[in-house]
Amino acid sequence: MARLGFKQILSIMLVNLIALWLTYGYLVAANPLTIKDVPGRLSCRLLVDYPEMIVYGARFSISGRLICEDKIPPQLMVQALLICGDIHTLTVNATTIGDDGTFKVDLEASFPKPSTSKTQCGVTVHVISKTVSTGLIDKKTLTMMVPS
């Protein structure tokens, strides 16, 4: 008759603990049914005020408002992306949307100085929830002046 020693008991306990931990991970964190709680396309409108012109090296703001049919959903954020010039690198910043739906994002070009005195930049404003895009997007092309 085989007997269980200390090593076997410890081994069984550890295996069970790891199995429980993995099961918890699957059921709680990675459960596919919880992913559907992330909001899809919201029944909201996004209004954004852009500056007329931006200047390389100077900070500027993009403000706006989210207008929803119902209450503004919690934990929403606005992420603004700036893509300028020939190098096409990104400048990103994000801010939380207030309870009244307003927001203000500060941006500053943090890429190498363009060689031209004027360049075109694309600004994209996304409304995101828990890092997932809600599909609400607004875009505009701005002119950036590059001081000599």
Partner: protein, 604 residues
Amino acid sequence: MKRIIEILLPILVVSSYLKVLSLSGISSILMIRRWSMAKPLSIVFINDFIDCLAIALIALTVSVLLAYRHGKHLSLLSISASALSLVFLTLSLYFYSALISLLIGLFLTTYAILLKKEIHLFSLARCLFSLLLLIEAIGVVGWILYILHGGINPYTEPLPLQDLETKMIYSLSSLTPILATLFMLSTLLLIIVKPLKPIEGSRPAELLDRLRAFIKSAVSNLSKQSEKYGAWGNIFLFSALIIPVLATLLLYTPVVNPSNMTVSVDILHYINFLRRAQESSQNDLEFLYEVLNSDRPLTLLMIYSISKMIAVDLRIASIYLPVILSPFFTLSLYYLALNLFKNKLYSSLACFLAATGPFTTASLYGGFLANWLGLSLSYLSLAMMIKSIEQYSMKPLLLSILLSILSHLAHPVPWNFLIAAVTLTVLLAVAQRNSGRSILKFLAVFIAVNLLYDFIKTRVLNFIGATVVAESIVSTELSPDNLVNFWPINVFMIYFHVGGAFNFPPTYIFALLGMAVFTIARFLKFDILKMWVLAGLPLYLFGPDYVQARTLQNIPIDIFASGGLAIVLEYFLFKDKMLSALLLISIYLLYLNNLLRFIVNLPF
């Protein structure tokens, strides 16, 4: 009639599975034009009613056919269940209708194969693989049409052919964090379960012995059967060399990347560093000093030299560098795998899995150029070391040391993994007393020279080096808090980090199988691979999302995956050659879909 059942059963199981998935409202996180979005996994062929009706009718047909042949109560039960599925359909309860059809499909499959032996498992598997192959082929056609046509929504234009394959794969995505974590824990688990042995003479012990005997004989005879599939080996290797190059070029075409954005995140850092170094240096010597004082001088010098040689700016040199890095990585991985498997087919397969799987997609998103080069050199170094051990020769060992030092110069992380893996292997060998002293001497020399080199670079010359980077990561990034919050961090890493590049479940399934194979077929060279994974475990458990991702990026997971597939293919080659061919084509298309899906969605 038997043939009809063989064809209808896989169709019933797959279609009802997809429909249950669709009607349950489950979503997954997909990268669509650079953005990670929650996309419902809804699949509608015609409309929900007709789809469910067709599935219920297939279930009814198979049930009737089986009842006709056997007339048993169980067949009659499935006819009743099929009728119930139709009743739910008339009540517009589509989800329950599809769910019953799926249960009938699974029940009838078990019934027909195990209880009645009506159909053979391999015949059914052949039909199932053919069906999956068809879905994969349609997906590839969809992506190719999109690349030729372009558009706004990559999943629906010009035809939604690729949508079905994507949703089918992403339906398994919730398993990815568990599978990846299980793979990372597997070496530790093997140590934990070691004291648990089945009682001698019992049925489990007998089964385990048979499995061991099969795997051992399959691993030692890998070359015999599969060498007949040399053409497949060539196809996989050629594809692994050429496809990532084409992908890199495609990334900057107007159809895929209309805004011509720099898709790889870290490229900006390379450009900025080199520009700053150029501006702050008075002469070439100062520039060289600046570059050598970084943690990845070889990569930076490579970008700079290419930019000077072919007179292109640093951005162009950086974004197209994968055209060189990827084939180099493929060749070094091939050489390493060849030293491990002694088999061309499975070595080529490992290369193909890496070239089209998470390693390449993550590298393209992140622009991990230095990591790409560093890991290639580390793999070559390891291959040379295995060669030196097998031949008891110093010459390959010297080459191995030289390559590891080059790896140190290319990027600190792969070098750290290599040294940690070899050190753990030495400790394991000493603890088990199962390796010759000469082998241990070889490994000790390798470690000592590398550590001495790093010591001189970092502590004597005060340059930045691998151990300094490792110290910094361990002291600043690793924390018990990350272990407490492991699952949210890990799920975020899998779904969102580098665009969800690591969210590809097949790799982890095959790799887990490979880990089992490498454990049973005990060789020192496989132990080094296992120790490589063990070296990454603390980083994976205690690190934040980007450290976890970098760990997955730097372990030879595709060699494990190839090892796992090798055993399945060897079994099929032994039992049913047609099935092995179907599996190989399915794997090819599955991974090709993964790369195409990723690169098409990489730019805005």
